[in-house]
């Protein structure tokens, strides 16, 4: 995963002490975009420090990533006891909004053709019966 050039520009000149919340969010986003893999808040904090952004408290980083997640700019997944965060690009953002729309509106659901919907318990049993017929299912999981 490569570090793309332009990101550090934001932080370096600003110094670590008093920065508006927007600038901190931008720095955290830059770190996550440069990482290429999901990062925990602890890792984000380390990388911020490594970039010469100064020390931020762990709870500050958690607050920032939660806020970014709430804004829909980050995706998160469970990692151990906490979460690991990934930035969303423009395409994913639009798709993510669409997914949320899919969860809310019946009409959105109707316009988008989903591959499958969830199963009832009875349907799941039937499905296992159908696919389990000749030997074990092909799917590895």
């Amino acid at each position: 995963m490569h570090d793309d050039g332009p990101q550090p520009a934001l932080g370096d000149s600003l110094g670590a002490s008093r920065r508006p919340a927007g600038a901190l969010e931008a720095e955290v986003l830059a770190v996550l975009r440069a990482a290429g893999t999901p990062l925990s808040p602890g890792q984000v904090r380390e990388r911020l420090a490594a970039r010469g952004e100064g020390e931020l408290s762990y709870s500050t980083v958690v607050t920032i990533v939660s806020r970014l997640h709430a804004k829909g700019l980050l995706a998160r997944e469970r990692a151990g006891r906490g979460f690991a965060y990934t930035p969303l690009d423009a395409a994913s953002l639009a798709a993510g909004q669409m997914s949320r729309a899919l969860d809310t509106g019946a009409d959105h659901r109707a316009v988008l053709s989903r591959f499958v919907s969830g199963l009832s318990g009875r349907d799941a049993r039937l499905l296992r019966g159908l696919l389990g017929d000749d030997g074990q299912e092909q799917d590895g999981g």
Binding site: A90, A110, R114, V116, R122, A124, R125, G129, G141
Partner: protein
């Protein structure tokens, strides 16, 4: 006219009962066209029938009749539509018009939003991967339309499974399947009795895409297994249920093919799609199609005939007018 005018109201009820068995038996592409057309024709007929009831009752309202110089005795002899029937028909007709307008508004908005969002997505390749833990895959109508798949789902599938999934979603976009369902639901809004037909179209477009995926990948069982796998992944596992599931699954494996066929016929769309893919490819059912088209024609002709009867009656009542 009396009997003829009620026929277009009766046939939708029969069609509603026949929709699901037809969707299961007919070749999916033909089923989609037939069921969509049926929904539109029958909704049109029942709307015409309602309008006729309103018109023939309205013609007997003294003020209106005088306005058009209709002869009351002639009207009374020719047509026994009571004022109450006319009023009820007018009420239902108004409701239908409203329902169509509302449905149209929502659908148009959802489609416009889908087009807008699809346009904002990257131009490289049609597949958009959404990060995050969701198990999600869908076709997003637009120009060009997009296929959205969650990263976790892509990771859970092997190469062949991914090919099956993408072929399925591409078929939705290429066949403009959202137009069929939109038209069917609009028509069903005019006559809610037709809702089972619109739901059957939802199912047949899925089958259409499944059959396309089976042709593209050349492996029906692969498509069936992929649908099953994704459906299982998309279903949140409830722990206690999962253990009983294992036991029942073992039992159901021993269940006779016949009893399974019966239970599949009453199951949700996923087991029905999987069962259809595990069966031989569907073939054109000429006789069944012919009968269905014939019934539609009867409905259409009877609505037209009723309209002509009413017209003739009003001409008669109006004298030389």
């Amino acid at each position: 006219m009396q009997l003829l005018v009620y026929l277009p109201l009766l046939i939708p009820a029969l069609a509603a009962i026949a929709a699901r068995p037809l969707a299961a038996r007919l070749e999916p592409r033909e089923a989609t066209w037939l069921l969509t057309a049926a929904t539109v024709v029958l909704a049109g007929c029942s709307t015409v029938a309602l309008a006729l009831l309103v018109a023939s009752a309205a013609a007997r309202v003294p003020i209106l009749a005088e306005l058009r110089h209709y002869s009351q005795p002639v009207l009374r002899r020719g047509d026994p539509t009571s004022a109450v029937t006319g009023a009820v028909a007018a009420f239902v007709l108004t409701g239908a018009a409203l329902a169509v307008a509302i449905t149209f508004r929502y659908r148009a908005r959802a489609l416009a939003e889908s087009y807008r969002r699809a346009a904002r997505l990257h131009d490289d390749g049609a597949v958009v991967v959404v990060p995050g833990p969701a198990i999600e895959a869908y076709a997003m109508p637009g120009s060009p339309g997009r296929i959205v798949v969650s990263g976790r789902l892509l990771q859970s599938l092997d190469e062949a499974g991914r090919a099956a999934l993408l072929a399925h979603e591409r078929a939705h976009l290429a066949g403009r399947h959202h137009l069929f369902t939109t038209v069917a639901y609009l028509a069903a809004a005019a006559n809610p009795v037709l809702l089972p037909l619109a739901r059957a179209v939802d199912y047949t477009v899925e089958r259409w895409a499944d059959e396309h995926a089976a042709r593209v990948t050349g492996d029906r069982r692969l498509v069936a297994a992929t649908i099953g796998q994704v459906a299982m992944l998309a279903t949140p596992v409830r722990r206690p249920a999962a253990t009983t599931l294992g036991i029942v699954a073992a039992q159901s494996r021993q269940a006779s093919a016949r009893s399974r066929r019966i239970s599949v016929a009453w199951a949700g769309p996923v087991p029905r799609r999987v069962a259809a893919l595990l069966a031989p490819p569907p073939r054109t059912q000429t006789l069944l199609l012919a009968v269905a088209v014939l019934v539609l024609l009867v409905a259409g002709v009877s609505a037209l005939q009723a309209a002509r009867d009413l017209h003739a009656l009003l001409e008669l009542a109006g004298g030389t007018h």
